[in-house]
């Protein structure tokens, strides 16, 4: 049985999609496993520059493997490709794929520099291709509910919002990989804060101005470990961004948003949503005062679970977008490009 996004039952989709993967690292392997279990996906090739990774995938999974992705594109002709290489390679690879008429799911952030996104967005539009970026929080039920409540005006006019994320990525003075290099897309801003910015854009409203920003390093030499910023939406509503990837009191990345409005307040993370209503004028399922709901109440059922419903749901959404079963309007290159532009505003503001 197939379920569409939001748990709407849809017609059984039958077209098989030929999918390739470029970059089988931490993120790529997880995508590959989810793709491997997807009933409408045929994995036609995997490309990585690591011999060890390719060797293991060939030996035990039987995938066709390529150390050069161009060769993969020519030889096995995927209709869609999932890109999970270090960020500095996103643009060049995504551009190649779109030029060849291939649908793209790219890992976040879209590009190293905000300027790069524009051409990609245009190219995808011209060619009518499906694009998606791996901002998986949008597929988490609690955040979806927060968006519904805010967009529906249920908490009234927003006075103020906060977006936060904390986790234990760099907790000592030792890091020598691409994450520690600003030229490769390393740093807390691109790696962690990007998720929160993207979520604010989606759940609360598009960020238009950055009126203050501070990037701080605690352990890293070349990149920031903390990002603090004052944000402003198009509507003039202000908010605070607080992100830190050097906080070992968190077992794993933990992201949350809060919004205070004229009719109530929302505090939301990936596991629960707490909503406060000032009066009895509340949407169904809520009451005056506090209501707490758990992810269990909202979890999107998936056919294969690896590490959170949202990871399976986003890949499923990508495949269904190609099959034209869903509209491809969540996490497009366009919205990811908006996020890149906010990242760049924060960078510029911090330099001042």
């Amino acid at each position: 049985m197939a379920f569409g996004f939001n748990n709407v039952k849809i017609e059984e989709a039958t077209t098989m999609i030929k999918v390739g993967l470029i970059g089988a690292g931490k993120m790529g392997i997880s995508h590959l496993s989810i793709l491997g279990a997807h009933p409408d996906v045929e994995i036609v090739g995997v490309s990585d520059t690591s011999k060890l990774v390719l060797d293991v995938l060939k030996k035990y999974s039987g995938f066709k493997v390529f150390s050069d992705y161009s060769k993969m594109l020519d030889e096995v002709k995927p209709e869609a490709v999932v890109v999970a290489v270090p960020t500095k390679f996103h643009t060049i690879i995504n551009k190649t794929l779109l030029s060849k008429g291939i649908h793209v799911f790219s890992e976040k952030p879209l590009a190293l520099k905000a300027e790069e996104g524009e051409e990609l967005v245009r190219l995808a539009k011209e060619k009518g291709l499906v694009t998606q970026v791996g901002y998986h929080n949008k597929f988490i039920g609690t955040f979806m509910e927060a968006k519904r409540l805010i967009n529906g005006g249920h908490i009234g006019d927003i006075f103020h919002f906060t977006g936060e994320s904390y986790g234990p990525v760099v907790v000592k003075n030792k890091q020598n990989n691409w994450r520690a290099d600003p030229e490769e897309g390393g740093g807390c801003l691109m790696d962690y804060a990007a998720h929160v910015i993207d979520l604010i854009n989606y759940v609360i409203g598009p960020i238009e101005r950055v009126s203050g920003a501070k990037l701080e390093s605690y352990y890293s030499r070349n990149v920031e470990d903390g990002v603090y910023s004052l944000l402003e939406l198009a509507s003039g509503v202000g908010g605070v961004l607080s992100v830190n990837w050097s906080d070992e009191t968190y077992r794993k990345m933990s992201t949350s948003v809060t919004a205070l409005g004229s009719k109530g307040k929302i505090i939301c993370d990936a596991t629960e949503i707490k909503v406060y209503f000032k009066s009895s004028d509340v949407p169904g399922g809520y009451t005056k005062g506090w209501t707490i709901k758990h992810i269990n109440d909202f979890a999107v059922p998936v056919d294969f679970y690896l590490r959170g419903e949202e990871y399976s749901a986003q890949i499923d959404y990508f495949i269904k977008s190609i099959q034209k079963v869903v509209p491809n309007d969540i996490n497009t290159f366009e919205t990811a490009w908006q996020t890149d532009r906010v990242i760049s505003l924060i960078k510029n503001c911090a330099k001042k």
């Binding site: 049985m1 690292g25 931490k26 392997i29 997880s30 590959l32 496993s33 989810i34 793709l35 491997g36 279990a37 690591s50 011999k51 060890l52 990774v53 060797d55 293991v56 995938l57 030996k59 035990y60 999974s61 039987g62 234990p168 990525v169 030792k174 890091q175 990989n177 994450r179 009191t249 077992r251 794993k252 933990s254 993370d269 990936a270 596991t271 629960e272 758990h294 992810i295 269990n296 109440d297 979890a299 059922p301 998936v302 056919d303 294969f304 679970y305 690896l306 590490r307």
Partner: protein
């Protein structure tokens, strides 16, 4: 396997329903003595199997168990490996090769990685065996009749179609530890057909099973059908998860399902441990009665 198994999520701040509760639990179980005390409550409630992650902190608990054999007569541990966060964090920092160098014991890598020499199949699997040995070290001298592969790894391999690796885990655990392999999964129906296809009959499998259908990939009905076939020794976990049902209703649902050999749960307080254990026993009795009629 015993009917009731005691889990360890509550000890390490893993609470799927709430980040806030996770933090509270991490604070509550800061000291080994608080974990040992809670294990004692479980024992008093007649539970003698502790199913736990190969988290660094478990090694302190193992020391205590070894040091107090009288207190732990007949007590068993079912280790669940690997403690994935450890490796995931290492891969972030050191890369895949760096992580293997760090964690695979001995100088296995000295030779293999020099000059990018080609690998042979056997090396990957013996690498896995060395990793298993490293994770098993802390349990030396403690009865570990079932050794589990954590769901992140089981399900990763499942999606990647790496059946042979699942089979190797099964074989190695039997050969080296005289134990039976168990597989934790969020994809019970899919996993069973794959394990069957590599000749693993009647495997021990631990999966989310609850009346709300939470984390039951493919749906509750499919799980119920799969259980009816009775081709696995199933441990139900996350039985209390999801929905607004009471603990009583949740446990009644699981106790009434066919072919569930054990139920795994974790709790922090003596009251909750006793309540859950007695609910399971109560519904087991009613099921038995109605079946013998």
């Amino acid at each position: 396997m015993d009917r009731i198994l005691f889990g360890d999520n509550q000890f390490f701040g893993v609470n799927h329903a709430s980040d806030e509760k996770s933090r509270a639990q991490a604070i509550r179980f800061k000291d080994d003595s608080s974990i040992i005390r809670t294990l004692g409550y479980a024992q008093e409630a007649g539970i003698n199997t502790f199913m736990c992650t190969t988290h660094d902190r478990i090694s302190g608990i193992c020391d205590y168990i070894r040091g107090n054999p009288d207190k732990y007569q007949g007590f068993k541990i079912y280790p669940c490996m690997p403690y994935a966060h450890k490796y995931a964090n290492a891969v972030t920092e050191l890369g895949i090769v760096g992580t293997l160098k760090e964690y695979v014991p001995g100088n296995f890598f000295g030779s293999i990685f020099k000059g990018g020499v080609a690998f042979v199949s056997k090396d990957y699997l013996s690498m896995m065996e060395l990793l298993i040995d490293a994770e098993m070290k802390m349990f030396k001298g403690i009865s570990t009749p079932v050794i589990f592969l954590q769901n992140v790894v089981t399900d990763l391999l499942l999606g990647l179609g790496m059946k042979e690796v699942l089979k190797s885990f099964y074989d190695y655990v039997a050969k080296k530890y005289n134990a039976e392999a168990g597989f934790i999964t969020m994809n019970l129906p899919k996993l069973l057909s794959v394990l069957n296809s590599v000749g693993i009959e009647n495997p021990i499998v631990c999966a989310s099973i609850n009346s709300a259908g939470f984390r039951m990939s493919g749906g509750k009905e499919l799980y119920e059908q799969t259980l009816k076939q009775g081709k696995a020794r199933v441990i139900a976990m996350q039985v209390l998860s999801g929905g607004a049902v009471s603990a009583k209703e949740a446990i009644e649902y699981v106790c009434n399902l066919p072919n569930i050999e054990s139920i795994l749960f974790g709790a922090s307080s003596r009251g909750n441990i006793n309540e859950t254990a007695s609910l399971i026993r109560q519904f087991d009795r009613t099921t038995e009665l109605s079946e013998s009629k």
